[in-house]
């Protein structure tokens, strides 16, 4: 509780441009005993500055600190007074003094008296910071007693590696495999593509040893022939209900690693090239089986093939499938849109139904695996049948990175011919041979190869394309949401954060996440293992995980006001809210990422955080002094800026010397998803002339670190459009703009254009009421 706030002005950063004495006096007059200490210090971001403040704290004169100077994004390490002292930073440098220009466009002159407009801005920001502090509590975390056990779904290559990784870090592991045997598809491999330096030869997988090591590890409990029936609870305290031959069992775990791998793509895509029609057209998987069993032979007569053709490129064929399927996908999407529109306001769809996502696309996504496989299997042919020749027909050899060395070593083999080309057709010849017709080759002409065995690639389809797999007993649905964004892969939308999905405590690794060769699955398994243990440890300390890692606050609910509208339950990107029979939300704090989307959704102000609430921002908005006459004092425009992109971009713009309208007041928000429409109503009600919301791009390539924030905000703004209209407030007064963090040259223009529009609209009709 901030009852005695020390307010400190930093002369070094803002002194030359502001009348600090006047500001200081104002603070004392307005806040009185609430701010018993108001000082102007020469250089706050220093040891001396820190000492001055610490002395005031030690003397008991103040219990919290308001620093008026540089942006909160810098010098953060210099204003730490321990976890019991709240610190608020009024951004008077970057977002006040540095960005200020007079209405006529002229810059600040430090030799002249600070303009009234600038003093007014600084005053507003200081008052906003003080009231913010008054409405902030020291975070009191909810620690969840975490079970230090991890459930690994899938006992194949990735699952085994992940299990060992967790066990070696000292955690208990339960490994669940639906087959009778551990090992997955890797057990069916004869050899693996290179796993280690020099990357020039195929290698033993070592899967048998790995299985033995896992079985022999005392920290790992293995269940085979077992499936997951239900997964319930929250990170740190999940309950997995599993079905094995001995019946149903419940296991308590702290987190989950999803490593259920892949299944072969539907072979219908191979039929245009004769698969299923000609006995000697086989799949890569079938070739692997033969190699493992020690003999490569033609299915038709059991004889050794002399000319084996590996077909990799099938774009024309896939294009045909593409056309058919895309039309179907479009039709389904339109149906879905229509169903959504027809849905009444009352029925909110909370649960997301599972969709099957296997398609023609999985073929091209498997390109790295199929390329590597063709190289490896061409080598099998050479090793088993030294007199035979292998042909690889490719459109692009997708062997990126260090595996290029493998490609080079295979190219050196005189018994393996490779050419770029488009396979036109595969037709039956005599003796069950195949005639492979190829065009656009590197050989200068179209060719025909008579093959006695043709190997077609096996596409990789993640298990999550066909089944929810994780069987979450969550109100929002059984599976990871939006798998269709990733064509069924259990992947993260973030390039920088490969393991962040919309379900906290659940981390995917291996081919279920992305098509990947065995070598990369090892590090992926270890990465997911780390995230799994990290989640357990964070939750144990009452801390949020990524992206607000270390956040000790969490959403608190004042259910007295709840009207069971269920918007929070629906809109939570992480499915953190369940509900009881009446529809009252039941929070699962460990699932929560602290974005505040629920707080933004709630029309009744039920939800708040210790240091971030609807009331807090509302009172900050109230502190903004709005001149009665727009012509004299100018308009006032509220900017709610996402602290992850817009706010840093504004700091950066200011640093580069870019100015923007002096009529705006910027408040950072955790995410545009946390913006409650009450704030807009408050701003309009207080006579502010406009409200600009700045946040990230939404859509399929969404940028929001909390998935849906800016999109939800946009939807909410559309909804309040009606309300504003009825009140006689023009819709143009409230706008949301999609910005990125590197748009620092664009954002000032966006702001200035908005301000210009407000001038055209004139003053808020409610001003002065």
């Amino acid at each position: 509780m901030a009852e005695k706030i020390g307010v400190y002005f930093d002369q070094a950063s803002i002194g030359p441009f502001l009348n600090l004495e006047a500001l200081s006096e104002k603070v004392q007059n307005v806040w009185g005993k609430a701010c018993p200490v108001v000082k102007i210090e020469p250089f706050l971001a220093s040891e001396e500055g820190h000492k001055t403040i610490q002395e005031d704290i030690d003397a008991g004169t103040i219990d919290s600190v308001c620093i008026c100077g540089s942006s909160p994004r810098v010098d953060w390490d210099l204003f730490d007074f321990g976890s019991n002292i709240l610190v608020e930073r009024a951004n008077l440098r970057e977002q006040c003094v540095w960005c200020y220009s007079n209405p006529d466009g002229s810059p600040l002159n430090p030799k002249e008296e600070p303009p009234e407009l600038l003093q007014a801005m600084a005053t507003d920001y200081v008052n906003m910071s003080i009231t913010k502090l008054q409405k902030t509590e020291i975070p009191d975390p909810e620690k969840v007693d975490s079970i230090k056990r991890i459930l690994i779904l899938g006992g194949g290559w990735t699952g085994l590696n992940s299990a060992l990784s967790c066990a070696e870090a000292g955690y208990e592991v339960v490994l669940l495999e639906k087959d009778k045997e551990l090992g997955g598809y890797t057990k069916n491999l004869h050899m693996s593509f290179p796993l280690s330096y020099p990357f020039t030869e195929y290698q033993e997988t070592g899967i048998d040893q790995k299985i033995e090591t896992v079985k022999g590890n005392s920290k790992i409990t293995v269940y085979t022939g077992t499936t997951l029936e239900k997964f319930d609870g929250q990170p740190g305290q999940f309950t997995a209900t599993i079905n094995s031959s001995s019946g149903q069992e419940e296991i308590s775990v702290g987190s989950l690693v999803l490593a259920t791998g892949w299944q072969a793509q539907d072979t219908k895509y191979l039929e245009p090239f004769g698969y299923g029609k000609y006995p000697n057209v086989i799949t890569s998987m079938q070739m692997e089986e033969m190699a493992k069993n020690g003999k490569i032979a033609r299915p038709s007569d059991g004889k050794s093939p002399k000319n084996v053709v590996f077909i990799l490129g099938m774009s024309k064929v896939m294009d045909n499938f593409a056309q058919e399927e895309e039309t179907e996908i479009k039709r389904k999407a339109e149906e879905k849109e229509q169903a959504k529109e027809e849905q009444s306001e009352e029925e909110i769809a909370i649960e997301e139904p599972f969709e099957i996502t296997e398609s023609y696309r999985h073929f091209s996504y498997s390109n790295e695996i199929t390329s590597l496989n063709a190289l490896k299997q061409a080598k099998y042919v050479r090793d088993y049948l030294p007199q035979s020749i292998s042909f690889i027909l490719y459109e692009h050899m997708i062997v990126p990175g260090i595996n290029e060395r493998y490609y080079q070593s295979v190219q050196d083999d005189p018994g393996i011919m490779m050419t770029k080309g488009e396979v036109k057709s595969v037709t039956g010849g005599s003796n069950d041979n195949l005639i492979v017709a190829v065009e656009n080759t590197l050989l200068g002409e179209d060719i025909e190869i008579e093959a006695d065995l043709v190997v077609m690639p096996t596409g990789i389809v993640p298990t999550t394309a066909h089944d929810p797999v994780i069987q979450l007993n969550y109100r929002q649905g059984l599976s990871l949401p939006e798998l269709n964004l990733f064509d069924g892969f259990a992947d993260s939308n973030y390039i920088c954060f490969p393991y962040e999905t919309r379900r906290t405590g659940i981390y995917a690794a291996g081919s279920v996440r992305q098509p990947m060769p065995l070598s990369r699955s090892i590090s992926d398994a270890q990465g997911a293992a780390l995230k799994a243990i990290q989640c357990i440890e964070s939750v144990n300390r009452g801390m949020s995980v990524h992206p607000r890692s270390g956040d000790l606050t969490y959403p608190k609910f004042n259910f007295v006001r709840c009207t069971q509208c269920r918007r929070c339950t629906e809109e939570c990107p992480f499915g953190a809210l369940e509900e009881d029979e009446e529809g009252t939300p039941k929070p699962n704090i460990a699932r929560c990422r602290r974005c505040g989307t629920c707080m933004g959704a709630c029309p009744e102000r039920v939800i708040y955080f210790d240091n971030y609430s609807v009331g807090q921002t509302s009172s900050m908005i109230t502190q903004i002094k709005v001149p009665e006459e727009m012509n004299e004092g100018g308009p006032r425009i509220l900017i709610l800026a996402c602290e992850n992109d817009a706010y840093p971009a504004l700091d950066m713009a200011a640093q580069k010397g870019i100015k923007w309208s002096p009529y705006v007041r910027i408040i950072p928000v955790r995410c545009l998803g946390s913006v409650n429409t009450i704030w807009i109503a408050d701003a309009m009600g207080k006579g502010q002339d406009g409200c600009l919301l700045l946040g990230c791009k939404y859509g399929d390539d969404y940028q929001c670190h909390f998935m849906k924030g800016s999109e939800l905000c946009q939807r909410r703004m559309e909804n309040i459009g009606e309300t504003l209209d009825r009140l006689g407030i023009e819709l143009e007064r409230v706008q949301q703009e999609q910005v990125a963090i590197d748009d620092y040259y664009l954002i000032p223009d966006i702001i200035n254009n908005f301000v210009d529009n407000i001038f055209k609209l004139g003053p808020n009709p409610f001003k002065g009421f």
Binding site: L78, Y499, Q526, L530
Partner: protein, 412 residues
């Protein structure tokens, strides 16, 4: 015995490894030799396939670092010696002086007043900086740094007068006790001067792919406007030469992973900025693994982006027009052709940063400088120090390395 972890290299892999280990609860020292964290990723305009800005991810990483006292960040810092064994290492770190105050004091005026314009490494020579600088976007730490080697006597006087500059600040050496080490020293662009058939870096309008990123980046020397370096004119015909140095026994014997995707991405930059422009990509294989195929299809749906399978045999400058002539063998049509372009981008490969240099650590490296072992010593390579990777896989690699480092310090 120490439970702390040392991460060498403050680029994306290093930052990721440090944070992931710190958030499990371990103390981590993140040691970076340049004045700022961020590495190569900070020099990029956007990442593929989402075309999102690197500062976005870095901002979150820096927020996480700020909130986590377990992460101890040292910049201007280099490892000078390592002794011990897994679980118990003593590491000497040399920290070069910054000469600037430990805060965000605004030194821009003083910086501008200094005499020399120094070729800026961050811009790959496409721009200059002053001796006192904080030139990277969203700099972390948010502090200026003084390049004392590049000041004149006049400059010295000005700097001495400033109360904020300490010209006498000296180098210091500290010792760290750690249990395991992660090497995340990243990559450097392959030295273009070695590509003698491709202009050897001497043709102004023949740039490398990292220079293209700087031209396209808002924080770059042209504020994001892609202009031909010779004459600052907008390019209309642009060529990309893939595998410039990679997949070549004479240069790098591996594929640098990112360059095909990078060229597709950069082709899109150009097409967006100049709707009338035409782009041709000369490739050996267009490597767009996995779901990157989707991105490739989107980019190549643009009729004005052509792809030609063919090796570029020669790059020559037309001195009068500053334009660039390429001699290419079209592998499929089977003919040799010569074409002229306004701007040519060499998709130069990546080499491990430590290639050709010795780290004060006895680590097994291969002929190209990639780290290929040493894990039994509790020392783990992450990211491009280990193999050529893109950003997402570097983050994956770093997270995996953090796990192994934790296993080491906890004692298996």
């Amino acid at each position: 015995m120490s439970k702390s972890i040392l991460v060498i290299g403050g680029g994306f892999s290093g930052i990721t490894a440090a944070l992931e280990a710190a958030e499990v609860g371990h103390e981590v020292y993140l040691v970076e030799k340049s004045p700022f964290l961020g590495g190569r990723v900070m020099q990029l305009n956007k990442y593929f396939p989402k075309l999102c800005p690197p500062s976005c991810g870095l901002e979150i990483q820096y927020q996480r670092i700020k909130k986590n006292s377990n992460v101890k960040c040292l910049t201007m810092a280099e490892i000078t010696s390592v002794s011990g064994q897994a679980g118990n290492y003593e590491v000497a770190v040399r920290i070069r002086p910054r000469h600037t105050p430990p805060n965000s004091a605004d030194l821009s005026g003083l910086a501008q007043s200094l005499s020399r314009n120094i070729s800026n490494e961050f811009e790959f020579g496409l721009g200059t900086r002053k001796a006192l600088y904080m030139d990277v976007p969203f700099a972390y730490p948010h502090r200026y740094v003084l390049d004392k080697q590049n000041i004149s006597e006049e400059d010295k006087k000005k700097l001495t007068q400033s109360k904020l500059i300490d010209l006498e600040e000296s180098e210091k050496t500290i010792t760290l006790d750690v249990g395991s080490i992660i090497i995340a020293t990243g990559w450097k662009p392959y030295d273009v001067t070695k590509l003698t058939t491709l202009g050897a870096g001497s043709i102004p309008n023949c740039i490398n792919n990292m220079q293209m990123e700087r031209l396209a980046a808002p924080s770059g020397p042209t504020q994001g406007q892609i202009l031909c370096p010779a004459d600052n004119k907008p390019p209309q015909r642009v060529a990309f030469v893939q595998c410039a140095g990679s997949r070549d026994e004479n240069h790098l014997n591996y594929c640098s992973y990112i360059c095909c995707m990078a060229s597709l991405k950069q082709a899109q930059y150009i097409r967006e900025q100049y709707p009338e422009s035409e782009v041709t990509i000369f490739y050996i294989d267009l490597r767009t693994p996995g779901r990157y195929e989707k991105f490739a299809q989107q980019v190549l749906a643009d009729e004005k982006i052509k792809t030609v399978k063919g090796k570029v045999a020669e790059v020559e400058e037309d001195i009068r027009s500053n334009r660039v002539w390429l001699t290419v063998e079209d592998a499929i049509a089977g003919n040799k052709m010569q074409e002229c372009f306004d701007l040519v981008v060499l998709a130069t490969g990546m080499q491990p940063s430590i290639a050709g240099q010795a780290l004060p650590l006895n680590m097994p490296i291969d002929e190209e400088g990639f780290i290929i072992g040493g894990e039994e010593k509790g020392i783990f390579a992450a990211g491009c120090a280990k193999e050529p990777l893109d950003v997402m896989k570097s983050a994956q690699s770093a997270t995996g390395a953090a796990m192994k480092a934790i296993q080491t310090v906890r004692g298996r």
